[in-house]
């Protein structure tokens, strides 16, 4: 379905306000076991100064999507189809040189594990200054001033002294702060944060999330925030994209998706999560089964083997026909809007208390 509409739809929604636009992105890896369809027909937009949250389980393609945006995939084993347009520039067909100019300058990334993402061989200061010198042609002195200023901004005490430290001399939370400082050095327009707080403790996570939010307000950066934690996303994002098996299954504003979700997978995620103020006597309702293998994804709707509501749909549409995801607030599901609403109100909502 998506492939058919692609050619006619693609230019239209790329309005002036959508600053990054991904259309029908397909990423495939060839492995020994066969072709892995890591991302299969994904479309989304990110507006300037807004945060798009992407949630999904491991293997749902959320990280691959963002590595592809930055052009960090291995070109020998990966085939990329579709369109990624950043501020009017097409990235899928861009040369390595063009991408190099953008990376670290216009778009930057914060990785999950700062200890492996920072080089143990260079000082934190050098790793911060290098992209600034490269992209802005700044001198060593200017780069150092900027780096110290950024380190201070992200809350690293005594930034002048810490400038010459190596990453192993930083604690986990400080390393992640240094990563954020590094990503913001060149004042990027787009920041991709891939599970930036998953490796951190809750109290530190709360600090880092608030810091990111405050910095976004100051710099006006667009953020793509990837996580598996719905609680984190509800605090951070403006818009939300729920991914499953390499596809977007639901999209909308964070408020809409979390308060009145429309896709059975989103229902499952919400009701399998214990809450701090939830009813303890109520059992959790897990999603049965396990996430599918992307070597051989299920036919039709990829969620149908785990879906409790596929009998509500007439015939065998769930197993035969892939549901499409409409523009705007939508869910890729064959249930009718009425069915979704009644199921949510009657069966799902009582569980969320």
């Amino acid at each position: 379905m998506t492939t058919l509409t692609k050619t006619s739809d693609a230019p239209a929604p790329t309005g002036p306000e959508s600053f990054l636009s991904v259309r029908d992105l397909k990423v495939q890896f060839s492995t020994e076991d066969g072709i892995v369809k890591a991302v299969d027909g994904l479309s989304f937009d990110v507006e300037r100064g807004k945060t798009l949250g992407i949630v999904g389980e491991s293997g749902s393609g959320k990280s691959v999507t963002n590595l592809t945006i930055l052009g960090l995939h291995n070109p020998r084993t990966t085939t990329v189809d579709g369109e990624i347009v950043l501020d009017g520039k097409e990235l899928v067909t861009a040369t390595e040189k063009e991408l190099e100019k953008l990376r670290g300058n216009n778009m930057a990334m914060i990785f999950q594990d700062p200890l492996t993402a920072l080089s143990p061989y260079y000082t934190v200061g050098r790793q911060l200054s290098e992209p600034f010198m490269k992209h802005n042609g700044a001198s060593k002195k200017e780069a150092k001033d900027r780096a110290v200023q950024m380190l201070e901004k992200v809350g690293i005490p005594q930034p002048e002294m810490r400038f010459d430290d190596y990453p192993h001399q930083f604690s986990g939370g400080m390393r992640q702060r240094a990563m954020i400082a590094m990503a913001l050095m060149c004042d990027p327009d787009l920041l991709i944060a891939d599970e930036p707080t998953t490796a951190l403790d809750v109290t530190v996570q709360a600090q880092i999330l608030d810091l990111l939010k405050d910095l976004q307000q100051e710099f006006g950066t667009a953020i793509i925030f990837i996580t598996h934690d719905l609680g984190v996303i509800s605090n951070m994002a403006d818009d939300l994209l729920v991914m499953y098996a390499g596809r977007a299954v639901e999209r909308g504003s964070v408020r809409d998706v979390l308060r009145s979700p429309m896709h059975p997978y989103s229902w499952g995620l919400l009701s399998s999560m214990p809450r701090l103020d939830g009813n303890i006597h109520e059992e959790l309702t897990p999603i049965p089964g396990t996430p599918p293998s992307l070597l051989n994804p299920p036919s039709g709707c990829p969620f149908h083997p785990r879906c409790a509501f596929k009998d509500e749909v007439e015939g065998s549409r769930c197993t035969d026909e892939r549901p499409s995801l409409a523009e705007g607030r939508a869910a890729a599901c064959h249930l009718t809007a009425e069915q979704k609403q009644t199921i949510f109100i009657d069966q799902i909502q009582p569980r969320l208390r």
Partner: protein, 368 residues
């Protein structure tokens, strides 16, 4: 109103009235640090666990929460005697097992079992599922009615796996299924106490609930006591009757579930609860916002007095000189103990003014 009303086991909310299964007093573990050249000498110690008291009643589930490095996993390993305690006393069912020898421990070992965090590294990849679950019975020379194989098949069925998977290898299973194998292995000897060290944190969100439900079923139907170690406060709340909060090798607050989550007194418990990201719903109340500064200090040189004082907004001189005892504060329920000189109000509702200790956040928020 007690939260423990649905429990099948006859026990009070404090655990004191119930029969005590495990009692830990002043448990301490210091890992020595060696240095110097050419003769290596002990130059210091990581004070991983530094004098904690804890009780677990029969068929009771106790949660142990805290951030990484606070000593909660070490505590679990000390209780299962996978580590040798430096000091303190562990009493299991009236018997002192603190320094029991291998031989003395053998009968106790089969009653205390452990479930590990990582389902990938805790199962031997060269053994079939059958032999993994069977081996505890072989080691202990237990011959159940109908043979070991029948018992293994029963266990597989109990944890929700197909008994026909008896001859499969661990790599043929997904993470959630492997954790079920780990649960089956722990159940093989009909234990009375299971120490579960972060049993669901390595699993996907949609799978976590499956394993939590399984553990809950096991806990309630078989009447097994649990020491549930986790950093996820929402899961611990769902699973545990009583909760102990650890910080840097010490228990700072312990109490029944309702007291800890709704009427916490220790500032650290407040900070921890306020840091949990929650999906906001229409009817959820505004929660207090506390943002600590920095990370947990090193357990090699822990702060004097109260260990939380370096990150606490209420710290005064007294906190540095005097270590607060773990006592029942006035107005708290029986069994709700707090170690703090200047306890907080027992509520988690939003404050008039947020507590923001982080310098960078303070600076950015002052601009607005």
């Amino acid at each position: 109103m007690s939260d423990n009303l649905t429990l099948p086991a006859p026990q009070g909310s404090t655990g004191k009235s119930a029969e005590t299964l495990l009692e830990v007093e002043g448990l301490t573990k210091h890992f020595p640090i060696y240095g110097g050249f050419p003769i290596k000498r002990k130059v210091g110690a990581v004070q991983a666990v530094d004098g904690i008291d804890l009780t677990v009643g029969v068929a009771e589930s106790v949660g142990l929460v805290g951030e990484s490095g606070c000593g909660k996993s070490t505590t679990g390993r000390l209780i299962t005697r996978l580590l040798e305690p430096t000091a303190g006393k562990i009493t299991y069912a009236g018997r002192d097992i603190t320094h029991a020898s291998r031989r003395q421990l053998a009968p106790v070992r089969s009653e205390i079992q452990m479930i590990f965090q990582d389902p990938y590294s805790s199962l031997n990849p060269r053994q079939t599922v059958g032999s993994i679950i069977k081996s505890p019975m072989e080691v202990n020379g237990i011959e159940p009615d109908g043979g070991r194989e029948k018992r293994v098949r029963e266990l597989l069925e109990l944890v929700g796996l197909n008994p026909e998977h008896y001859n499969r290898f661990p790599h043929e299973f997904s993470g959630g299924q492997r954790q079920r194998i780990g649960v089956a292995r722990a159940l093989a000897l009909n234990p009375k106490l299971i120490v579960a060290d972060e049993p669901v944190s390595a699993l996907d969100v949609s799978i976590q609930a499956q394993v939590v439900n399984l553990l809950q079923k096991v806990q309630q139907e078989l009447g097994i006591a649990f020491l549930f170690i986790a950093h996820d406060l929402a899961i611990v709340r769902h699973f545990s009757h009583r909760v102990a909060v650890m910080y840097l090798g010490k228990v700072v607050e312990v109490g029944d579930r309702d007291s800890i989550y709704n009427r916490p007194r220790h500032p650290y418990t407040h900070a921890l609860l306020s840091a949990v990201p929650e999906v906001a719903t229409e009817d959820s109340e505004d929660r207090e916002r506390i943002r600590l500064a920095g990370d947990v200090p090193s357990p090699i040189h822990p702060p004097s007095g109260c260990r939380f004082r370096t990150r606490c907004w209420k710290a005064q001189d007294k906190c540095a000189s005097q270590e607060p005892p773990l006592i029942q504060l006035s107005g708290n329920r029986e069994g709700h103990l707090t170690a703090c000189h200047f306890p907080e109000e027992p509520t988690t509702e939003a404050r008039d003014e947020d507590v923001v200790m982080d310098p960078a956040l303070k600076a950015l928020e002052a601009q607005d």
